[in-house]
């Protein structure tokens, strides 16, 4: 009896127990269960490196800057210690490194990288952030913090955590000495956190400005100054610089301008396009409105030898330090634009709404005492009406090298509208001596373009001072024509006409000598007014096609070459002088000398001015 009762009791209990266990709250695998992917751990350094983290200093930094410090720490057992070297330290002039994982982490559930830090001094860490991995650095973030000498918590917000599903770059920094002095700082409890108190995103491009840019096909513009700003729980905004990959860039008119995922804008058509961006679905403040004017032809590449040039603005030379290409002299100046257009690698200056504008280069000033000319290429974009002009004004700051002080001077050279061309580059070689009023050229500091709004839109390129060397440093080029086709007057390469008098006495002032130039015998006319060459015998050059002359002059501004036949019948051919690029090899068609009798050429003559070097004077076909 007893047994039965107890058995029933036990069975009832057992059944009840079984009931509860098997029927109660059984759960199937939830649809929210996530399969294991990349680690979601947020620790970077608490009391030691998180697993898989490694330290890689920058190649030119002080390699031993980082240590683990068990004595100075915010909490726990250790902190990171960074020792910034003194300025100029031969073992590395700054401290900087990346801290990178072997395998990426899924950080999409966090909203900030946080840490506690203090320094031996209140140094400002130049750059600190995450996302740099010595690879693509695709999601790199950086900001700058000033340390205190007490522990303080710092927060680096994640611009858009949904992008960081596989991030290796946990932390990076770069810091140079403060006022030349090294110091130390510590970082502890470095980790990614979901604070939940970071809000009100305000992404920005181009400093939040709506930029308007007139440009041409082939131009490239980079959308820069990419930042994200959040409001923190402290009520303070924190801004970070972000890599382009956080943004989505859009062009309103891709047939005019395209923009790629790095924010590089390429102008491919004529017309207007507006470039904007979004970060995490929020439209960024700032934009570029592109007005593409169409095709662009660059100014001719200068040929002056770089050793004869002081360049203010040119891709062909190294420019001197220039403070600005537009001083924006408010309130009278209306001119907009500066040297910020790059078209297929060609940098140009574009001025719009021109009334006057100055480029300044006074740090240091330019000593152009040896220079003779100012060269500038100008392409006018706007209408050139009668009476229009561009005045080029050169300013010298005097002995004190600064503006003012009663020792400044300037000179003006007026380019009339008739010398300019809309849509075409015109090159001007302005003799500095023509700028009356300029009493010194030893401390040049400013170049003005002044149109008083008679011309409103111009492009400028290749602004440089140059000198024309007075003597050649290399020999004239070696002639290539076969001797059988040549009647030579003066050349080391051929047999010259026998008995030729290179300095007949015609009452000239010219002093004639022969000088070796780089081993090559060269004819030199010093102080030319006129000078003859008496051929040994009359020559029949009617079977020849050209008179070839190599000539060089640094200071002539007038030079003619004559053939003379019996009579005398003479005909001049004007030669372009001075030769700013070195030897000029001229082929003059003999037909140019008509009515000289080519069957009976007896003399050559040169007239003009300056010092002339001549070589390889020969007829050929």
């Amino acid at each position: 009896m007893k047994t039965r009762k107890y058995i029933y009791t036990k069975i009832a209990f057992l059944l009840g127990f079984v009931f509860i266990v098997t029927v109660s709250c059984e759960r199937d695998l939830s649809s929210e269960a996530e399969l294991a992917g990349y680690s979601k751990a947020g620790d970077v350094f608490i009391d030691g490196f998180t697993g898989g983290l490694d330290y890689y200093p920058f190649g030119d930094s002080y390699f031993k800057a980082f240590t683990v410090d068990a004595e100075t720490k915010y909490d726990g057992t250790a902190a990171m210690r960074f020792d910034v070297p003194n300025v100029g330290d031969p073992t590395g002039a700054y401290a900087g490194a990346i801290f990178r994982l072997e395998t990426g982490r899924d950080l999409s559930g966090y909203d900030a990288l946080t840490f506690w830090a203090k320094g031996t001094t209140g140094g400002t860490i130049n750059e600190i952030g995450f996302g740099q991995d010595f690879g693509e650095n695709k999601y790199q973030v950086s900001t700058s913090f000033q340390l205190t000498t007490y522990w303080k918590k710092y927060i680096i917000p994640i611009p858009d955590a949904s992008k960081l599903t596989q991030e290796k770059g946990m932390f990076w920094y770069a810091e140079g000495p403060e006022n030349g002095m090294g110091y130390s700082f510590w970082i502890d409890d470095l980790q990614f956190e979901k604070l939940g108190t970071i809000a009100q995103p305000r992404p920005s491009i181009l400093g939040g400005k709506d930029v308007v840019q007139q440009t041409f096909i082939g131009s490239n513009i980079t959308v820069n100054q990419l930042t994200q700003t959040f409001n923190l729980a402290t009520g303070i905004d924190q801004t970070v610089s972000v890599a382009p990959a956080y943004f989505v860039f859009t062009s309103s008119n891709p047939s005019v301008a395209t923009v790629n995922e790095l924010g590089k804008v390429s102008i491919i058509g004529t017309g207007n396009a507006i470039i904007t961006a979004k970060l995490g679905g929020v439209t960024a403040k700032g934009s570029i409105s592109i007005q593409s004017l169409g095709d662009f032809t660059p100014a001719p590449t200068p040929t002056n030898n770089a050793s004869n040039v002081i360049s203010i603005f040119s891709d062909a030379y190294t420019n001197v330090p220039v403070e600005y290409y537009n001083g924006y002299y408010a309130p009278y100046q209306t001119t907009q634009g500066q040297a910020d257009i790059n078209i297929n690698g060609d940098n140009i200056i574009k001025y719009s709404q021109l009334n006057f504008v100055a480029s300044q280069f006074s740090q240091p000033t330019v000593d152009a005492s040896q220079m003779s000319y100012l060269h500038v290429d100008i392409q006018v974009e706007s209408q050139i009406n009668p009476g229009a002009y561009i005045k080029v004004q050169l300013g010298d700051f005097g002995d004190d090298g600064v503006y003012g002080g009663n020792n400044d001077s300037n000179g003006v050279y007026t380019i009339p509208g008739s010398a300019l061309s809309k849509g075409n580059w015109i090159g001007f070689n302005i003799p500095i001596s023509a700028l009356t009023g300029l009493t010194s050229r030893a401390h040049l500091a400013q170049i003005f373009f002044i149109s008083d709004a008679t011309i409103t839109d111009i492009l400028v390129d290749n602004m440089y001072f140059y000198k024309v060397p007075t003597a050649p440093t290399v020999a004239a080029p070696i002639p290539m024509v076969s001797a059988a086709n040549v009647i030579s007057v003066f050349s080391d390469a051929y047999t010259n006409i026998a008995g030729t008098d290179l300095n007949p006495g015609w009452g000239q002032a010219t002093v004639v000598t022969q000088v070796p130039i780089a081993g090559n015998n060269t004819l030199k006319y010093a102080g030319l007014n006129y000078q003859g060459i008496q051929l040994g015998t009359a020559q029949n050059v009617s079977a020849m096609t050209y008179l070839h002359i190599d000539y060089f002059t640094g200071n002539s501004n007038a030079l003619n070459a004559y053939l003379i036949s019996t009579g005398p019948v003479e005909k001049a051919k004007a030669l372009a002088v001075p030769t700013s690029s070195g030897w000029v090899s001229l082929e003059i068609p003999l037909s140019n000398f008509s009515p000289v009798n080519l069957a009976n050429v007896i003399q050559l003559k040169f007239d003009g001015n300056g010092d002339i070097y001549l070589d390889n004077i020969y007829f050929h076909n």
Binding site: M1, I20, G235
Partner: protein, 276 residues
């Protein structure tokens, strides 16, 4: 006989156990253990802000202007009734602080109150609000006593259900002012969100006000109770009070906006509900 009785007992026992297991079965999946003790359940006034346009004039009046010395606090705004500063739209009340030059002030905003239209002693007063943010913004949801017992402040009594400083986006204060405990001496307690802010989503701010107590709650957290023992003066919360909602700019409580403060700033109210 005994044998039969025992068998009966066994049967009963089995049934009891069976019922017991059934009960366990029924209750074993129940995970809700919240106990809500709601004393004020009778909804007597509500504004769900569903009718677009100006706020309901049968409930709300406006305060206009910049008061005396910025409403006694050196506040910087000029309160208006323009739609630029106050409107009902999208099922919400929008109170908008603008930075603009207006009749001698540098900012405009709005302040509405139920004075003379809805006043009640005791009850549950709550509103669902999303706050503005930034240095110098001062939103408030509060109450002032009528003049049945006294005619001036602080004797009339003031209950601040919610006050916030825009530069403290995780903190809100609940406060009472009365004679001997007003202004800097008011009885106040702050409530801070740990992993959240008050400007990113709506939160419910309310009080339960009875004869000898005022309970302050935010969402489902009762964070303070003030009783006559807690106040350093007479307990004046025993007569009808009216409701005020406003967004001030600057002033002694919050300080001025700075160059980082983004304008316009909006205080969004989803509803106001009063229970007895």
């Amino acid at each position: 006989m005994i044998h039969q009785f025992k068998i009966k007992a066994n049967t009963v026992l089995r049934k009891v156990f069976f019922l017991f297991t059934l009960l366990l079965l029924a209750s074993s999946c129940d995970t809700d253990e919240t106990q809500t003790v709601v004393k004020f359940k009778n909804l007597v006034m509500q504004d769900e802000f569903d009718a677009a346009g100006a706020p309901n004039s049968s409930i709300w009046n406006y305060n206009i202007g910049n008061g005396d010395n910025g409403w006694g606090n050196n506040e910087l705004q000029y309160y208006t009734d323009r739609p630029e500063n106050i409107k009902v739209e999208g099922g919400m009340l929008h109170i908008i602080a603008n930075k603009e030059s207006f009749l001698g002030s540098g900012y405009t905003s709005a302040k509405i109150l139920t004075k003379g239209k809805f006043e009640q002693k005791y009850g549950r007063f709550e509103a669902r609000i999303k706050l503005p943010w930034g240095q110098g913004l001062w939103p408030a949801f509060w109450m002032l006593g009528d003049t049945s017992n006294a005619s001036v402040w602080p004797e009339i009594g003031e209950i601040d259900i919610m006050e916030n400083r825009g530069q403290e986006p995780t903190l809100v204060n609940g406060t009472v002012h009365g004679p001997g405990y007003s202004g800097g001496e008011s009885i106040t307690k702050a409530y801070g969100l740990k992993n959240n802010r008050f400007d990113t989503d709506f939160h419910i701010f309310g009080i339960e006000w009875g004869e000898n107590y005022i309970n302050f709650y935010i969402d489902d957290v009762l964070y303070n109770q003030i009783t006559p023992a807690n106040v350093t003066g007479n307990w004046v919360f025993d007569h009808p009070f009216y409701i005020i909602i406003n967004l001030a700019v600057g002033g002694n409580y919050v300080g001025s906006p700075n160059t980082n403060t983004v304008f316009p700033q909006t205080m969004l109210v989803d509803y106001v509900r009063v229970y007895q």
